[in-house]
Amino acid sequence: MFKILIVSALIFMSGCTTVVIDEYRRSDGELAAGDSVVILGRRHSSDYETEPDLIACVGRELHNPEMGVNIIPEEEFVDIMYPWFEPRTAPMHVRSLDRLMENEGVRERMEAYGVKYIVWIDGSTETTASAGSISCTISTGGAGCFGFGTWDKESDYEASVWDFRDRELSGKLSADAKGTSYMPAIVIPIPLIARVQNNACKGMAAQLQQFLIPTGGTSS
């Protein structure tokens, strides 16, 4: 029993993370039946890249057809709209959508998928500092590690919500998350990982849900 408790504690122990969410709302979300939301990552910056797994995570957290939130996966959307949502060709401003809609094929596919909102997420998670050292030894008598390591991670993401049908910016969200992970090693290394990116994803998804369905109930 005691062993099970220790193992469970080790599994569930993790470093602390703080998440700060800011919101700027120009209009309330209005999702009708059959409407879809697309979540896309911005990939035009040269020194960082919005992680595809973060976009997938926000999409997974938000996707809830029972509440009227239908998310089109990023990869599927980018493929059906190829080449108009590639890093080089993706619209950077809401007003650029008008020019894109002059393309009949794109307009037809957008309508067929019932796209109401396009959410652009821009940012990344980075390791900002690390300290400590762990050394491991293998010998005929056995193997073991000794030491202590720690590292800080920071997430900084901004989501812009575009109302595709009204061709306007509905609002913006930002998620800043910070966390420190620890790894003490006494024979066995015990990782206490701060899930910074995951917490930023969950925070952003929760806020986006409030944004898209303000009442929190099923949309009509």
Binding site: R43, D47, Y48, E49, E51, D53, D79, I80, M81, Y82, P83, W84, E86, P87, R88, T89, N103, E104, G105, V106, R109, S124, E126
Partner: protein, 222 residues
């Protein structure tokens, strides 16, 4: 004596295996396999022949400098798929040419031949940024049915991918190359009509097509 031979063979086998292991540890092989979506948009009213040479179809980039580990990156099959898909969707009619300039079909108005000029990549430890980056440069050539060059232009493609937990260098590089190839397709598709020589060629074709249409209508009216 018998035993001595056996031990010597074993020793050689071990030495060869160890050397092979060391060499394998420093060399990387990447085979890029990719399927690419067809572009969405209107087709240009042209009958185009696409000639992808054997060098292009089997293109392998080999990195063999002293500062880097050995890399063999085969992008041939992936870029063949990309160019066939993108060019195949761009025009009203496309023909894959097995050889050029021999046996050119009569209905072909323009022949497009891409060639790889350059491929470059950087690893996270070289740039101190947590991303793998790839650049590919293509020389594009277009010829008329007589074999005269209509246009020659360059396509530059860029792809990057962040480092991911439990992802090997090979996987990350493959992902970055696939993104670069998608970028090449996007540039080819959106930039084709912006090449001045091709613009002139297209307007000439459209003019002659509308002139022929006008003549047919006039004859019918008579």
């Amino acid at each position: 004596m018998k035993y001595w031979i056996k031990w010597a063979s074993l020793y050689h086998l071990a030495a060869v295996s160890f050397t092979a292991l060391l060499l394998a540890a420093c060399s990387h092989t990447v085979q890029v396999e990719g399927k690419y979506p067809s572009p969405v948009g209107e087709q240009l009213p042209l009958s185009v022949g696409i000639y992808l040479s054997d060098d292009f179809r089997n293109y392998t980039y080999e990195e063999d400098s002293e500062d880097r580990e050995e890399w063999k990156i085969n992008t041939g099959r992936a870029q063949k798929n990309l160019f066939e898909t993108v060019l195949g969707s761009m025009f009203t009619n496309t023909v894959s040419l097995v050889q050029y300039p021999e046996n050119l079909p009569d209905n072909v108005e323009l022949v497009i031949i891409p060639e790889v000029r350059e491929l470059q990549f950087t690893m996270p430890r070289e740039t101190r940024v947590n991303i793998f980056e790839v650049w590919i440069k293509y020389d594009m050539n277009a010829y008329d049915p007589k074999g005269e060059q209509v246009a020659s232009w360059v396509i530059t493609a860029y792809g990057k991918t962040p480092t991911a937990f439990l992802q090997s260098q090979e996987q990350a590089l493959t992902q970055a190359i696939n993104i670069a190839l998608r970028d090449a397709g996007a540039t080819l598709y959106t930039g084709f009509e912006k090449v001045p020589e091709l613009q002139a060629f297209l307007s000439g074709k459209l003019r002659s097509a509308s002139l022929q249409e006008f003549k047919v209508k006039s004859r019918k009216a008579e």
